[in-house]
């Protein structure tokens, strides 16, 4: 029987994080002495799939049925971080060596069907003073309002354990889903949460599941890591390329052309009464996705404000204001989508379109300013 607690792991939360994984990983990066606002700075972009209506920033937000993704899918967002394909953890250290640049932080995701093996690896990491970002099903997390009511994949940070008394010490500061937990939970419950099949159901997908597979992540290459100015500049340049629609990402249209396509599709919806699926789409998917995009603009603003010596200060300040305003318009789109989903008032489509036009005006100025400065 063993006991171990890691002290001083930052309880990170910022309202501009992308999702619960981003929030938990940021805490781990800070613990390792890294700045998540720069390491996890994603490109300014917008992605749209006309066929499905799915949107995103650097990848489409979809209802996933797995925690496994291809290398390409995992590496569309960041210049400073690299995500290899998730793989089964091998205790003998014979896992595939990923091909990545030494000036990138590597975030390895492990999946493991053997719960004992996954449990032991978490223990080993904590014994080495490394907090663990692990996925759980909220259905088993007794501090959350979803407990015993709804399933959902979520990430927490495990910082300690006591086998004698049977508890984990962990925290979950992702307040965007009303999480604010910092304490102890029974090991057996967390093990169930990590091994859950995570059955889900919604109007767009019907019944499906997204097994948690005991997934956890390990950060490598952090010792001696130094931020490179050319990588920071590349984040800015790639943002200009994507927003100017000069490339596709994962085969999907990017940037202003993509926003205009979305506007055209919303125009076309004005003449058609909302079916149940589209009502759900606006009430839930568009609401959540527009909120996420709004946060991405605040995140990029934070990144812009934290980089030194690359942009002139007046440009930095102008871009910062424009991004704040753009974020506000994306946020209004989110709220209007929810309102449309509830009230079914198609006149709200025109209001959403007007907000998107404001977004385009603001973000074109951002890209113009960035382009002139680089």
């Amino acid at each position: 029987m063993a006991i171990k607690e890691i002290k001083n792991v930052p309880r990170f939360f910022e309202p501009y994080v992308s999702d619960c994984f981003h929030n938990a990983l940021s805490a781990q990066l800070m613990y390792l002495g890294l700045n998540p606002n720069i390491i996890l700075a994603d490109y300014l972009s917008f992605l749209y799939d006309k066929e499905t209506g799915y949107m995103g920033v650097n990848y489409l937000y979809k209802y996933n049925t797995s925690v496994e993704f291809s290398e390409t899918e995992l590496n569309t967002s960041f210049e400073q971080a690299y995500f290899p394909v998730p793989e089964v953890y091998k205790r003998d250290g014979t896992e595939n060596k990923a091909d990545y640049s030494r000036d990138q932080i590597m975030v390895k995701m492990y999946i493991e069907s053997d719960s004992d093996c996954a449990y032991n690896r978490v223990k080993e990491l904590i014994d080495s003073d490394i907090p663990v970002v692990a996925a759980v099903d909220l259905f088993y997390m007794q501090y959350h309002r979803a407990y015993q009511k709804e399933h959902g994949l979520h990430y927490v940070v495990i910082t300690g354990y006591n086998e004698e008394e049977g508890w984990y010490e962990l925290f979950d500061k992702y307040r965007l889903s009303n999480s604010d937990f910092d304490g102890r939970l029974p090991i057996n419950e967390v093990r169930m949460a990590r091994a859950s099949d995570n059955p889900l159901n919604n109007a767009m997908m019907g019944e499906y599941s997204r097994p948690v597979q005991n997934v956890w992540c390990e950060v490598e290459n952090h010792k001696g890591f130094k931020l490179q100015n050319d990588r920071i500049a590349a984040t800015l340049k790639e943002s200009c390329i994507r927003m100017s629609s000069k490339k596709e990402v994962l085969g999907y249209q990017c940037g202003f052309d993509a926003i205009n396509t979305l506007v055209d599709d919303l125009e076309a919806k004005k003449a058609v009464p909302l079916c149940e699926k589209n009502q759900y789409m606006f009430k839930t998917y568009y609401n959540e996705t527009f909120k996420n995009i709004a946060r991405s603009r605040k995140r990029f603003k934070t990144f812009i404000n934290e980089i030194d010596g690359i942009l002139p200060q007046n440009i930095q300040s102008d871009i910062s204001d424009l991004l704040e305003e753009s974020s506000r318009h994306w946020d209004i789109c989110a709220n209007l989508s929810l309102k449309l989903g509830i009230t079914k008032k198609l006149t709200l489509l025109e209001d959403i379109i007007n907000q998107l036009k404001e977004v385009i005006v603001n973000e074109q100025k951002v890209i113009s300013d960035l382009g002139n400065a680089l």
Binding site: K291, R328, D331, N335, L336, L338, K339, I342, T343, Q355
Partner: protein, 81 residues
């Protein structure tokens, strides 16, 4: 309608949407921190207010930042009536 009547009605609606502290609604408090009203609940609340007072809320103001307290909502409704 008098401002006091608007405040009374909005306090009742806030109580109905609150996750906690519903019996102690103070109009100057942040809705999220004090009553657990998140952005989704706020939009639902504002739709309810539109029906209750027969007003239309300007889409360009539809943010949590603008309507973050009961007072902000009351002031807005008072101006619209």
């Amino acid at each position: 309608m008098k401002k006091e009547e608007i405040e009374q009605k909005i306090s009742e609606l806030l109580k109905g949407r609150s996750q906690f502290n519903g019996d102690n609604i103070k109009l100057d408090c942040d809705l999220r921190d004090n009553y657990g009203i998140d952005s989704i609940a706020l939009v639902e609340l504002l739709i309810e207010i539109e029906c209750e007072f027969d007003i239309s809320i300007d889409s360009n103001l539809l943010t949590y930042e603008y309507f973050s307290t009961g007072n902000a909502i009351c002031d807005y409704v008072f101006k619209k009536l």
